[in-house]
Amino acid sequence: MTEPSSISNDPLDNTDLPQIGPQHFERVDPKHLTAGLVVLTATAATVLAFTIALAWIVSLNVDGSVAAKIGALLVLLILVGSAAQFLYLRASLSRLGYLVRERDISVRRGVLVRTVQTIPFARVQNVRAQRGPLERSLGLTSLVVTSAGGSLNIPGLRDSAAQALKELVIDRSGIDEADQ
């Protein structure tokens, strides 16, 4: 075990330590909500179409009025569910944020279960920028920062911001580009 000579090891008072305050978190691009909305709408539309088609087929074969009532109820449920999902998405967007400090990067997320995850730059193994087709069309990128014990996912970054953040993390954590 090598022992660097210059480690200070004085007792610390928690209040002296640099803290992660709620006010510092950077919000992601609002278009991230648009991306969520597109997925939500597409899912809801598919389920709706399927339900209506099913109700119609059933109504041809059995009692039409009962099928129509059940179908209407299901449609209503899907609409209410989608509306709730939309509110949840909006709330989660306002909770989603990231914070870069000198020595670490944090992500805050979650509506019901709220969490702040932090990875010190000195523990970063690699950084990955991901763009799916939907994200590409909106000019968004997800950044995934990986350590040897878990990773951070920051979705909904503008391309330029993601690129800059990626370079910052690479620079700060001293990972070789060749290593990537």
Partner: protein, 490 residues
């Protein structure tokens, strides 16, 4: 140049016996059972026809493939890198930097014994669950040379200290045996290792209970004068079954412990911790001490009685190879001093978690109990309502659980202990942290508490129900330590 590096710098092939072990390994991956089933299904009910020709073809192909893969597989040491070339169809050249190797495991399976060879498995942090390099059969000399070489290279501490570290010769610590287990120790270990697990075997027997009681001439529903006698024999029968099952399971555990742990030795060789054991297959797991991520200490009530505990030392990618059952307090301290530096050790765990934890754990089982007893009470028999009385001990159990939940933190270390009957203690240096999270669920938000999770490269230390400010303070302290404690984490 050390003798080890000189030995390994030549290009080596596996032993000439290796093709045999390659074939056995391949068949094992396919599954002997499946192969047997196929053979039986294809072969039953008729004489072998012309398709029998397939068998020699398969044998020739297997032999050819294994010899070819033996011939193509070479390994050598080049400038601190283990260079492995392999592949039958597509050739592959793998470069494993010695300092990236997390663990080197040597295994002598039963079939390796007569030819005095071993199998070497080399793991890096990057290989997810699949070993990076497996050398199917080689001599023990070479295997141990690889183990030593992988353990002796030190990862640099940081850009500014690379030179100073490289210049210092690594002090060679003579090898020392830290712990051994005699056969009588093994019996003790087996006996204290959850003997009640055997009760699980009884569960399926419950379905057969009626038949069994009939066979024993016991009728449960009979309401004549004999019923009391019958009830006695019923209790007796159940007792006999329970005792017999536990007895069988304990016996199996003793046998199993002897097979896997016979001759268990944990030793230190320089900066490497090595564990060897096994009656039929001899296994030797080793890892550089500095790569051990945390120390986990489990103790069941029976183990507490004989003051034994099980110690586990996870390294990145390998959760349980380095395991020491039946450890005494002295052995624990020796191993703790090796793996968690003295300045990062946490003494007594005097900090507690918030009171609300007890209610959080209590509410779901309590709800289940209330609903269960109400439904049974109304629908089946009023006596079920008395089950509600169980709420009291249930509450006390979770409250004691909460009171016993201890943790402690120093500037460089963190430790937790949980459990009432079986306890688990986890200790780690703060610099092992890879990711730190502070999480609040709905219940915790109402009570202003939070859960802190410090994830290491293998495992995590989790402290639930801390006051939010305390949780955030702990998180900040861990992050601070990752910045100031520059000793390597891997």
């Amino acid at each position: 140049m050390t003798p080890d590096s000189e030995l390994l710098s030549a290009v080596h092939r596996q032993s000439l016996w290796a093709p045999v072990f390659i074939v056995i390994g391949a068949l094992r991956r396919l599954g002997f059972a499946q192969l047997a089933i196929i053979a039986v299904v294809v072969g039953t009910g008729r004489l072998p026809g012309p398709e029998i020709i397939i068998i020699p073809i398969v044998i020739v192909l297997l032999a050819g493939w294994s010899v070819l893969s033996w011939h193509r597989f070479t390994f050598s040491l080049e400038n601190e890198n283990l260079v492995v070339e392999r592949g039958v169809v597509s050739l592959e050249r793998v470069l494993v930097p010695l300092q990236r190797i997390q663990s080197v495991n040597i295994e002598q399976q039963l079939l390796h014994r007569p030819v005095a060879l071993v199998q070497v498995t080399i793991d890096t942090a990057g290989s997810d669950n699949k070993a990076e390099v497996v050398i199917a059969a080689t001599s023990r000399t070479i295997a141990e040379a690889i183990q030593r070489m992988a353990g002796s290279t030190h990862a640099s501490v940081g850009p500014e200290t690379v030179d100073s570290v490289a210049e210092q010769p690594i002090p060679r610590v003579p090898s020392a045996v830290l712990a051994t287990r005699s056969p009588s120790d093994l019996v003790k270990i087996a006996l204290t290792n959850r003997p009640l697990a055997g009760l699980i075997l009884i569960a399926p027997l419950a379905g057969l209970a009626d038949d069994l009681f009939d066979a024993l001439g016991i009728s449960v529903n009979r309401s004549d004068a004999n019923s009391l006698v019958a009830f006695d024999s019923l209790i007796l029968a159940i007792g006999v079954i329970v005792v017999a099952t536990i007895g069988i399971v304990v016996a199996l555990q003793v046998v199993w412990t002897f097979i896997t742990e016979f001759g268990l030795t944990v030793s230190r060789d320089g900066e490497v911790l090595r564990r060897e054991s096994g009656l039929l297959d001899r296994k030797s797991a080793s890892s550089a001490i500095s790569r051990i991520q945390q120390i986990e200490i489990d103790q069941t009530p029976l183990q507490r009685l004989v003051s034994h505990r099980t110690i586990r030392l996870p390294t990145a990618g390998d959760q349980s190879s380095l395991r020491l059952p039946g450890a005494s307090e002295g052995e624990l301290q020796t191993i703790r001093d090796l793996t968690v530096e003295p300045d990062a050790q946490v003494g007594a765990l005097q900090r507690r978690i918030d009171r609300s934890a007890a209610f959080y754990w209590f509410r779901i089982p309590a709800l289940g109990l209330i609903l269960g007893s109400l439904v049974t009470g109304f629908l089946v028999h009023g006596a079920a309502f008395t089950l509600l009385l169980l709420l009291v001990p249930l509450w006390f159990y979770f409250d004691i659980f909460r009171r016993r939940w201890g943790w402690g933190v120093t500037d460089l270390g963190l430790a937790t202990r949980s459990g009432v009957l079986s306890t688990r203690r986890i200790e780690a240096a703060l610099r092992r942290a890879q990711r730190v999270s502070v999480t609040q669920n709905l219940f915790q938000r109402r009570n202003g508490t939070a859960t802190v999770t410090m994830q290491t490269a293998e495992g995590a230390i989790k402290i639930p129900f801390l006051a939010l400010t305390e949780a955030e303070g702990l998180r900040d302290r861990v992050l601070y330590a990752t910045a100031v404690d520059l000793r390597p984490w891997f």
